[in-house]
């Protein structure tokens, strides 16, 4: 099949806010009111959770959907999984659809792990024979061999999630819809889940992935859609959209000082610089003071955007810049330099101005510049420690044989 597996064509979804008539007690008076001509103003309570969203996902593609809480991500997932129906527009999902949403939703606490595997498998649309033939694999993947005859209510939440993911991972889907499942289990299991999802993708499964976990989105997805209040504001490459999201998330205002900063690197494209790991980067900072300041200092912070990690922070007073004294309306310029000994990924620079006497920020410019580190060796982590290695030529020890 060459057409897209998942199509969202100008989809709108409206909800009614507030109380509906959940009981006849409320409904009967409302009905009487309507019949006697006094109309209720219910339409004012309606709001659009998803507005005019369109996208397509083909075989082997993965679309990430990011956005703040309440932006409409879950609604889109429910529309995709047929739980909800669009108010306007059309959605099409072709082939067998696996949904990793609330992967343990079908579990019953009083049933054993084994019984729940069959139940949950059936809920996901698997045949009993299919589940039976993959049962051992499912259990091994979840690492729960010893607990299959224990009621699920005795499981930890991590065990629960592991079993849920494992069942879903052994479904044979054409389309996979994933919601935040990677936030479960320990680190090692998360790695395993991500690995499994990458394999799904390489096997030609079309994936829609909703997550707050930006590194996972960046790793898995071929395109990312940013949702804001139900509107798809940006759709594009993971790096660009994640950068846009982080800029939007960090928009706080401290307006005593206006900060302008320019990064200088050997190469750049658009708003994001491509930087070799270890490259020396220069940052020109200009401060427009709107208040008079006696002693201020500048903080330079580097954050890992995809992992949402504070990587580095240092301030002007530690590098020999004397306390900054400025009159109102004055502009001061500085140049900083640092070496990007970082692993591959997207990083953002924050420049802040602090008044140490009054213990307050005069300015916080989050994500004022961003850069993308290119590097081939590491697979995880932030600091580049430049691993190298070679066989050391030691002869193999002869194997002792018991007599």
């Amino acid at each position: 099949m060459n057409g897209p597996r998942v199509v969202f064509d100008h989809v709108w979804k409206q909800f009614t806010r507030g109380e509906r008539h959940d009981s006849l007690r409320d409904f009967v008076p409302a009905l009487v009111k309507r019949l006697t001509g006094r109309t209720a103003t219910e339409s004012s309570q309606a709001f659009w959770a998803v507005r005019d969203v369109s996208f397509e996902v083909r075989e082997g593609e993965a679309l990430g959907i990011i956005g703040r809480n309440g932006a409409g991500k879950s609604t889109i997932l429910k529309l995709l999984t047929r739980i909800l129906r669009p108010t306007r527009g059309a959605r099409k999902v072709e082939g067998r659809t696996g949904a990793l949403i609330e992967i343990a939703a079908g579990f019953h606490p009083d049933l054993t792990g084994r019984e729940n595997v069959f139940l949950q498998g059936a809920i996901m649309g698997m045949r009993r024979r299919e589940i039976a033939s993959r049962f051992d694999e499912i259990v091994a993947f979840a690492e729960l061999e010893r607990f299959m005859d224990t009621p699920v209510k005795r499981y930890s939440s991590g065990m629960n999630a592991r079993l849920g993911f494992s069942i879903a991972a052994h479904l044979d889907p054409d389309v996979l819809i994933i919601d935040e499942v990677l936030a479960v289990g320990d680190r090692a299991f998360q790695e395993k889940c991500q690995e499994r999802m990458r394999r799904f993708r390489s096997e030609g499964v079309a994936i829609v992935f909703v997550s707050h976990h930006l590194p996972a989105v960046a790793q898995l997805c071929s395109q990312v859609l940013l949702l804001e209040s139900g509107v798809a504001t940006t759709i594009g490459s993971p790096t660009e959209v994640i950068a846009a999201y982080c800029r939007q998330a960090g928009a706080e205002t401290y307006d005593d000082v206006t900060v302008a900063a320019t990064l200088r690197a050997s190469r750049h494209s658009g708003e994001v610089f491509d930087v070799e790991s270890g490259e020396r980067l220069k940052l020109d900072v200009a401060l427009d003071f709107h208040v008079a300041v006696e002693r201020a200092k500048i903080g330079i912070v580097v954050r890992d955007q995809t992992r949402d990690l504070y990587v580095y922070g240092a301030s002007s007073d530690r590098v020999g810049i004397p306390p900054i004294r400025a009159a109102r309306g004055e502009t001061k310029r500085f140049t900083f330099a640092f070496d990007a000994h970082l692993t591959r990924g997207l990083y953002a620079i924050e420049v802040n101005v602090v008044d140490p006497d009054r213990h307050r920020f005069l300015a916080v410019a989050r994500g004022i510049q961003q850069f993308h580190v290119v590097e081939q060796v590491s697979y995880d982590g932030v600091a580049n420690l430049y691993l190298s290695g070679a066989p050391s030529g030691v002869r193999a020890e002869p194997v002792a044989i018991a007599r």
Binding site: T81, A105, R128
Partner: protein, 266 residues
């Protein structure tokens, strides 16, 4: 007309796709009852036996009625049949609202919930029927060739119950009062269904009303086929059969078309 065909097609396709889920959900509910209660399947026979004792006391000692077979046998057979409908509908009413997690989070045909409630009660029905066989042996009432008509009676009974199960589950999702209202109606309905007394004992308009109740016809049909060695009353039973077989697809279609509103309304 086209939409109707598409919807019917979808209903059938989904049922085929998820055919094993109905079995799994039924098994889930049976297992749970077995695990959560000490009596397990004992409950399936406990209720009709106890009720039979109570009504035997009333209708043999206090206000004796004439029945073609010994009264306990007569009453147990009626209660057994009635219990299947009553417990199916009682479970079905809360089957959607009691599974909020599944209804709002995972997609599969929601018909599974009320239908599993009917299936669970059907298993109880079968278990309790064993006691009926015991009672028949005790009172030396033998079955005759009319027992061959039992599958037809059962089919009509199940279709009738399933249609109501679908409607009630849906109604209770939209209006939670339905559960309470239904409990009240259920008691009233039992006495309006000639379960514990012979319908011939009631004369006049009241008798006609009771006869017009489909459950009266169904209960009577079971008794005639199993205990009296007679076929069901042809006209009344044919009417109920046609009614059930028309209502079931209609109820199913109604349910299916409201399905997409469930997650928003629950």
């Amino acid at each position: 007309m086209r939409r109707l065909r598409e919807d019917l097609h979808e209903i059938v396709r989904e049922q085929i796709e998820f055919r094993e889920l109905l079995v799994q959900m039924t098994a889930r509910d049976l297992r749970l009852r077995y695990k959560q209660t000490i009596m397990g399947f004992g409950w399936a026979i406990f209720t009709p036996i106890l009720n039979t004792l109570v009504f035997s006391l009333v209708f043999m000692r206090v206000a004796p009625v004439h029945t073609e077979v010994p009264y306990p046998l007569f009453a147990y057979c009626g209660l057994l049949v009635w219990n299947f409908t009553a417990s199916s509908l009682r479970f079905a009413t809360t089957s959607l609202t009691g599974n909020t997690n599944l209804v709002t989070k995972v997609y599969f045909p929601r018909e599974i919930f009320p239908l599993a409630a009917v299936a669970v009660s059907l298993v109880d029905f079968a278990v309790a029927a064993a006691v009926l066989a015991g009672l028949m042996a005790h009172y030396h009432v033998g079955a005759s060739a009319t027992l061959l008509l039992l599958p037809a009676v059962l089919a009509v009974h199940v279709a009738f119950t399933a249609s109501l199960a679908l409607v009630l589950a849906m109604a209770n999702l939209f209006y939670r009062d339905v559960k309470y209202l239904f409990e009240v109606i259920l008691t009233f309905w039992m006495f309006a269904s000639a379960v514990v007394y012979p319908v011939d004992a009631v004369h006049g308009t009241l008798g006609q009303l009771i006869r017009a109740n489909p459950m009266t016809t169904i209960v009577e049909a079971y008794r005639r086929v199993i205990l009296y060695g007679a076929p069901p009353e042809p006209v009344a039973f044919a009417a109920v059969a046609v009614f059930s077989l028309l209502v079931l697809p209609a109820a199913w279609l109604l349910f299916h078309r409201s399905e997409f509103r469930f997650a928003e309304s629950i």
